[in-house]
Subunit: 194 residues, 2 copies
DNA sequence: ATAACGTCCGAACGGTCGGTCTCTATCCGG
DNA sequence: CCGGATAGAGACCGACCGTTCGGACGTTAT
């Protein structure tokens, strides 16, 4: 079996572990044990734990991109895509794509007051997604009640996603996705009938 | 120096450390070093790390209660107290009472998918505060537009507080408190003029 | 056949973890 | 003045951390 396969298996497993235990809780020894390989064999693929963390972070970003952004890329920019993005986001959380809840919420609260490449990577991703959201919100403002502030809109929508993740992770609250949708509809109007 | 004093000093220092590093990042050795006492001297007051964690959690709950709930206890139940609670909550986050952001947000995302006394303690506190919020929301529903769902209201308000903590902690976003207030006012109406 | 390479292992490194042990200094009631 | 309780020191334990290193394999190219 090639190194590519081994490496991606490590990252895949690391993704699951890190979404539950955080990127810090991801330990070389445990990961090696789970995959029935040696610690040194594992670390050989990355060089250091930090490189492993960054690789896992990248993989998580790929998953999130695939689960949310790729699904709304064909929507018209502005309000329609903003609505679709929110729905995809809710669905991503509802389906519990990561067993430990939203990967980035967990990692953010772990690294938000640290320095270094991991925190920088998380911030870069968050900033990028925030910009995308904000761009659609700006266009959408024209289709929403006068005086709608795009930044305020993005802020409230993001907060709702944080709340949904919390409700699902802490309480297994089955009503939370529906509640989130209702709140989104109140901000953006009812979902477009397809 | 009495044991009481030493113990409370340990908890106080642990509060600061844990709000930044999480309850898991709170290590006996480091805490003892910070306070210039021995590990055994420290551990003698608690018996185990878990007891220390629970003591710190209790202390954090006292702080939060003092910073939020005690300040609104004299308000009339229902909408006025709900408004006051939200404002106190925003202020608590804005003033960065804990250097690492909201203690309970951090601890929740750390323990939400574990078992044990610490997670139970966090859940107990969250449930209690949620109930208080919900009770006022129920009363407030009469003073709000018809069809207002108290659970939905509590859900959205809580999400906004999560969002505020995120914005402050991750981005040092100075506008976030004001944005949160604006969103709260949209849900609860403008703040009562005093 | 042989040399080189990629892949992975097993052992070991220094360090930190939570926790236990023994010992001493101090205080307080009789 | 004494004797027990107690706070705390400090050495130490086994487990685990991330990391390094030499070498054992199988494949591939020469």
């Amino acid at each position: 079996m090639g190194a590519r396969h081994t490496r991606s298996a490590i990252v895949a497993r690391g993704l699951d572990v890190a979404s539950m235990e955080g990127l810090g809780g991801l330990t070389i020894g445990r990961l090696a044990h789970d995959l029935a390989i040696s610690k040194s064999g594992l670390l050989g693929h990355f060089g250091s734990k930090q490189s492993l963390q960054l690789a896992v972070l990248d993989a998580a970003a790929d998953v999130f991109r695939h689960e949310v952004w790729d699904r709304v890329a064909d929507q018209p920019a502005g309000l329609p895509r903003l609505r679709a993005t929110c729905e995809a986001w809710v669905s991503y959380l509802e389906r519990r794509v990561f067993p430990g809840g939203c990967f980035f919420t967990a990692v953010t609260s772990e690294f938000d007051d640290r320095h270094g490449p991991v925190r920088d990577g998380v911030a870069r991703l968050a900033r990028r997604w925030n910009r995308s959201l904000r761009a659609d919100a700006e266009r959408a403002a024209a289709d929403l009640p006068a005086g709608t502030d795009p930044d305020q809109l993005v802020y409230e929508l993001s907060s709702l996603m944080l709340g949904l993740n919390y409700a699902l992770q802490m309480w297994d609250d089955e009503c939370a996705p529906e509640r989130t949708r209702r709140a989104v509809h109140r901000l953006l109007g009812p979902p477009a009938a397809t």
